[in-house]
Amino acid sequence: MTAIATLPASGPGPREQFEALYRSSAADIYAYVASLLRDRTAAEDVTSLAFERAFRRRALFDVHRGSARAWLFAIARNAALDELRRRQRSGALRHDVADDSAQPEEIDSDLAERRLLVRDGLATLEPPEREVILLKFVGRLSNAELGRVLGCSESNAGTRLHRAIERLREACGVTR
């Protein structure tokens, strides 16, 4: 599922491993962080900070505790939440996520309408529900990794994920 399963602290090519991890994860990390923060500038800062921290702490990565990608998302999540706390303390909340959505593509109108519907539906979810959707859909983490990032069990992560999907369906008016 993930491009990089391990990130050895030593051995042949640890820098190349990190670069590969960066290349495979940077866009998803940014998407996740920007969705959490809903602020383009802050998302860029937090994304940079997350990779900086990951690089600095790469020797502490433990392959037995999950994939490098999950580890990177956990770092990004903490950095993003710290940024949220800082902004809440200073009362500087911004919501400009609409500006950094996907670039328009040549797609049919039904698909474009559906994507718009899903985006709006996602925006109406509670932040924890939105986060679990993003970690799964964008981060492509397994349920075990999801649990580790969120600080809960794998089964609880699965339950939360399924509940969030159901809420998203309701918000989008999707019928099954």
Binding site: M1, E52, Q103, E131, K136, T159
Partner: protein
């Protein structure tokens, strides 16, 4: 069904979600979910080109800079570091306990025999029985009996005199050794041989070899000057169970005897003068009788002085050899064995110090750990709160 339990259908949907994310085919019933995933991913924010280029450059620079600066040594992860540290601490503590326990169990009463070269002279206040006195001086080999403390007085009645420090001390030791019944006879033979090598004599001995009831006892007499080396030699023959040393200051008795002898000698000289000028035969006979009686008294006083000097010159040693576990053999007392024991002792000391240091550091480390854990938990809760209120 608990809150975390999902139905089979829900589990199937989550499994299908994993397949969708892995770009694997799914059934028709999950196409709606696939479309949802596609819409979420397509609608996710994307980095603009400028930021992506800047981030690429930053990462490339960071990675290249790190490689050029230094080759990092492999670092332990916190968990491995904790395991390694905990393992080392546990091993150190266990080793300390094992070594300390072993040494303590094997440690016999360790009486270092006094290293003296002559009979000890106790201070006047130490007269009577005492455990150990500090070595001070030795007796001279030749001198005349004179009241101790009265330097310069001389008398040719005997060839031995107490030391210049003026105290005559009678010394005795009782040594109890433990050895296995099988080696009892060998130890007994070595006691006799060691005594003779030191110029002493075995005044009496009793050796009984009867299995666990084996027993040996010796009454030894040895020149006081060699008592220390004899005790040291005997202590090396088997495990020392007990060692008692006593001293008895006999200076006063010696002084009284020498004074009495001097008086008698002076009295005899006076009588001899009277005899030379005796006027009648009856007077001469009477004086001669007094001189004869005085001669007997002088001889007795000489014997008393000799006995006292002998008591001060010869130390008595009572050696008892009892059955028991012996951890020390004469053959095991070589330099290598001593070096091994010294090394063990040094290691024990080092580990003891390390244990003490650990005992001091550990509470602080635990407090720091608890504080770190509390701070981490609080920070994480604050982050979750920030998420909920975002």
């Amino acid at each position: 069904m608990s809150r975390d339990e999902l139905s089979a259908q829900q589990l199937a949907e989550l499994a299908a979600l994993d397949r969708i994310l892995a770009r694997e085919p799914v059934g028709e019933e999950h196409l709606e979910l696939a479309a949802l995933v596609d819409s979420v991913r397509a609608g996710a924010p994307r980095m603009d080109g400028g930021f992506a280029a800047r981030l690429d450059a930053t990462i490339a620079q960071r990675v290249a800079g790190s490689g050029a600066r230094r080759a990092r040594l492999p670092r332990l992860s916190p968990r491995r570091f904790a395991f390694a540290g905990g393992g080392l601490v546990a091993a150190a503590v266990a080793l300390t306990i094992v070594i300390s326990g072993g040494l303590l169990n094997s440690r016999e009463p360790n009486f270092s025999p006094p290293a003296t070269s002559g009979p000890r002279l106790a201070s006047p206040s130490a007269a009577g029985h005492a455990r150990v006195v500090a070595p001070t001086a030795t007796f001279g080999a030749t001198a005349s009996p004179a009241p101790l403390g009265a330097s310069g007085a001389s008398n040719s009645a005997t060839s031995v005199t107490p030391s210049a420090h003026g105290r005559l001390v009678q010394r005795g030791s009782t040594l109890t050794l433990a050895t296995t019944p099988a080696t009892m006879q060998a130890v007994a033979n070595r006691v006799v041989a060691a005594t003779e090598r030191q110029g002493g004599v075995v005044e009496s001995s009793n050796v009984e070899i009867q299995g666990s009831a084996s027993y040996a006892s010796f009454s030894l007499a040895v020149p006081s000057g060699r008592l220390g080396s004899l005790i040291a030699t005997l202590s090396g023959l088997a495990s020392v169970r007990a060692l008692t040393q006593s001293t008895n200051d006999i200076t006063d008795g010696y002084n009284q005897e020498t004074a009495r002898l001097a008086d008698s000698v002076a009295e005899r000289a006076a009588l001899l003068k009277q005899l030379a000028v005796a006027a009648t035969a009856a007077d001469a006979t009477s004086i001669q009788n007094q001189i004869d009686a005085l001669a007997r008294r002088i001889a007795a006083e000489h014997r008393a002085i000799d006995r006292l000097l002998n008591e001060g010159h010869t130390a008595t040693v009572q050696v008892n050899v009892v059955p028991g576990a012996s951890t020390r053999h004469s053959s095991a007392g070589g330099p290598l064995s001593r070096a091994f024991h010294d090394a063990l002792h040094a290691l024990e000391e080092i580990l003891a110090i390390a244990l003490i240091a650990l005992a001091i550091v550990l509470p602080f480390a635990l407090c720091a750990l608890a504080l770190w854990w509390a701070a981490t938990s609080l920070r994480q809760r604050a982050r979750e709160r920030a998420m909920r209120t975002a």
